[in-house]
């Protein structure tokens, strides 16, 4: 993984010292909240419903065991013993005191971490495929390009005060696991005639005005991609709306200009860049960054592991976990493991300090020191030998991390909602946990197959409800929580926005309605191999809508 050079270390260290001074002045009353707020937001500090929240960057979702142990330590010493992994592959702590945050940031800096680019109207943490470097279907490891984008975007003077926040996602795999088409910029790494380049999508996003990104360029050669991103950003920075924060994202600019005109302006800006403006990214520099992401020294293994096969035959619980939570690895004899942070009854995406330490230990002992955070709020051990899977599962299960539900109905993306968030209108976590209860039988859940439910507590859509196969959106109607149900969203290479099917439901009515929709699917699917989303697209939304509103 990438290691800080002297410049990275220095800017992070200086940033901590600067923020320590700002916090001291805030606590003395020298700085007022109105003055302090933009400063704290630039350091990932929000003021939420019950307390400050500190969001820490995990660039492209990659962690070392040392870093995860440090996060566990912070959870234990400065929070309430747990942290919450987010859809931007970051982590946030919900109970950190402001007076302690400079110390926390200093501890993070010691392990090459920080909270920069986790808030404010800048380019946020670039996200990617959580199986990067291990996936069979990728053309190359996208993390190097995420790191190059990180270095380009961090403290970029021209883009520090954008009209609104800006999110970039990168994938190099045919199956999009990074939701690139619902990002401000989505980059798909392609190979064309031996050359590496980027398919560029712009103007996607969720929130109150969801959009699927427009394809603005099918292939930008890798040496030109930063220049092209500069052109995209410049057009946005110049013409993006600053008069209305709800219309300030790039998706609104692309929509208001029209795709063709927006593309024309980007191409014009790109062509007009002077030679001295261009970002010279020599092949040697690209190669240097790629070297940080060299594959781990995976020993040669037979494709079939006798130990793994025997364990599956002996233990049906392990066998189910192996069927559900493993992803094929590009190297024979290995698999990528999803460590589910969605056990029944726990806020989705939460992990305790002890659980973080267990995962760190397993990564160190069995996983070449590599840990990922997925945008679906789980952890990944990307390189585990099949021989070691029984031991890994046993340790995870003992720590409460053995849930076999990756991409299944109880593996929901859920925002913190009104339990924590100052912007939320309704609670997300309790309704998600109530839905989980109806699908608690692992055999039943496995039979249902892949089905994504995403839950948001307000229109800002942090729980990605627009792109859930089933989306749940909480709204406040005269002091009472109601939930609108959406059908048909998806965040993959066939990205689509879900449609609200009808009137909102009371919280108590949501689980039953979801259950009826799922049972309708099971009754109408052509076979268990036909996924929920495929049946929905084959039959249309109408019959599912009728099932949803049928008398319970």
């Amino acid at each position: 993984m990438y290691r800080y050079d002297q410049f990275d270390a220095q800017i992070v260290r200086e940033r901590v010292a600067q923020f320590r001074g700002q916090v001291t002045r805030r606590l003395s009353g020298e700085l007022l909240e109105d003055e302090f707020k933009p400063l704290r937001l630039q350091n990932g500090v929000y003021l939420q419903l019950h307390a400050y929240m500190l969001r820490i960057a995990i660039p492209y979702g990659q962690l070392s065991p040392r870093q995860l142990r440090r996060l566990a330590e912070i959870a234990r010493d400065y929070d309430k013993g747990y942290g919450h992994f987010t859809t931007r592959q970051n982590i946030q702590f919900n109970w950190v005191a402001l007076k302690d945050i400079p110390d926390v940031l200093e501890k993070l800096a010691e392990v090459e971490m920080h909270a920069i680019q986790t808030s404010g109207n800048c380019i946020r943490n670039t996200t990617t495929d959580h199986y990067a470097g291990a996936a069979q279907d990728e053309v190359l490891d996208p993390r190097a390009w995420c790191e190059i984008i990180r270095q380009w975007s961090t403290f970029h003077p021209e883009f520090a005060f954008l009209p609104r926040k800006f999110k970039i996602a990168v994938t190099a795999a045919e199956h999009d696991r990074a939701a690139i088409r619902v990002h401000d910029v989505g980059l798909h790494i392609r190979r064309q005639g031996g050359e590496t380049g980027f398919e560029v999508h712009v103007g996607g996003g969720q929130g109150r005005t969801p959009h699927i990104a427009a394809l603005v360029n099918p292939f930008v050669p890798e040496a030109r991609i930063l220049d092209y991103l500069e052109a995209i950003m410049r057009v946005y920075n110049r013409y993006g709306r600053r008069d209305n924060k709800y219309k300030a994202r790039i998706k609104i600019l692309v929509s208001e200009l029209g795709e063709a005109e927006y593309i024309r302006q980007v191409e014009e800006e790109f062509a007009a860049q002077r030679p001295d403006e261009k970002i010279d990214l020599p092949a040697e520099e690209i190669a240097r960054i790629h070297a940080y992401f060299a594959p781990p020294p995976l020993g040669a293994k037979p494709e079939v592991s006798n130990r793994f096969e025997a364990a599956k035959a002996a233990d049906p619980v392990f066998a189910r976990w192996a069927r559900v939570n493993l992803h094929p690895h590009k190297t024979p004899g290995y698999a990528s493991v999803t460590v589910s942070l969605k056990p029944l009854g726990v806020a989705p995406g939460d992990a305790t300090d002890t659980q973080m330490e267990v995962v760190a230990d397993l990564a160190e002992k069995y996983g070449y020191g590599d840990i990922r955070v997925s945008h679906a709020q789980n952890l990944i051990l990307p390189h585990i030998a099949l021989d070691d899977l029984p031991a890994v599962h046993a340790a995870l299960d003992a720590a409460g991390l053995g849930a076999a539900n990756e991409s299944r109905i109880t593996d929901m993306i859920v925002c913190p909602g009104l339990d924590f968030c100052n912007l939320a209108n309704a609670r997300s976590i309790p309704v998600a946990l109530e839905v989980q209860k109806l699908f608690a039988d692992p055999a039943y859940e496995e039979d249902i197959g892949k089905l994504h439910i995403n839950v948001s507590g307000c229109i800002n859509a942090c729980g990605h409800h627009h792109v859930g196969h089933i989306g749940i959106l909480g709204v406040d109607r005269k002091g009472e929580e109601f939930y609108q149900i959406l059908l048909g969203g998806r965040a993959d290479e066939k990205a689509a926005l879900g449609e609200i099917v009808g009137p909102g439901l009371k919280a108590d009515d949501v689980p039953g309605a979801i259950h009826r929709v799922v049972e309708f699917y099971r009754a109408r699917r052509t076979s268990p191999a036909e996924k929920f989303i495929d049946t929905l697209e084959r039959l249309g939304h109408q019959p599912f809508q009728e099932a949803l509103y049928a008398a319970g």
Binding site: R26, L32, L47, H50, V96, L98, V346, N422
Partner: protein
């Protein structure tokens, strides 16, 4: 800053709430004028006294952040348009994992 801050009439009973600047914890102004993390101890104010209490709170930036009025009944129960949000904020289980 919360997304919604309803304007309350002078005669409407109200409490003053904010966040403790050092910790970020939700706090309420007690009848005695001290800040408490226990919403059951909030003071109920009306009219000019309420305005004076809020103005004083706004001068305590080093102690509390972003004070505002919250609608309550004469006996201190949370009421009004923001009942759901303020009830969540004042939940006695505050601190427990949901």
């Amino acid at each position: 800053m919360t997304s919604v801050r309803p304007k309350l009439k002078p005669e409407t009973p109200k409490a003053v709430t904010a966040w403790a600047t050092a910790t970020g914890r939700s706090v309420w102004l007690s009848a005695e004028g001290s800040w408490t993390e226990d919403a059951r101890r909030l003071g109920v104010f009306i009219g000019a006294e309420a305005e004076a209490r809020l103005a004083a709170a706004n001068r305590q930036e080093e102690l509390v952040t972003d004070p505002y009025f919250m609608e309550v009944t004469h006996t201190g129960e949370i009421t009004g348009r923001e009942t759901l949000r303020e009830s969540m904020r004042a939940a006695p289980a505050l601190g427990a994992r949901p």
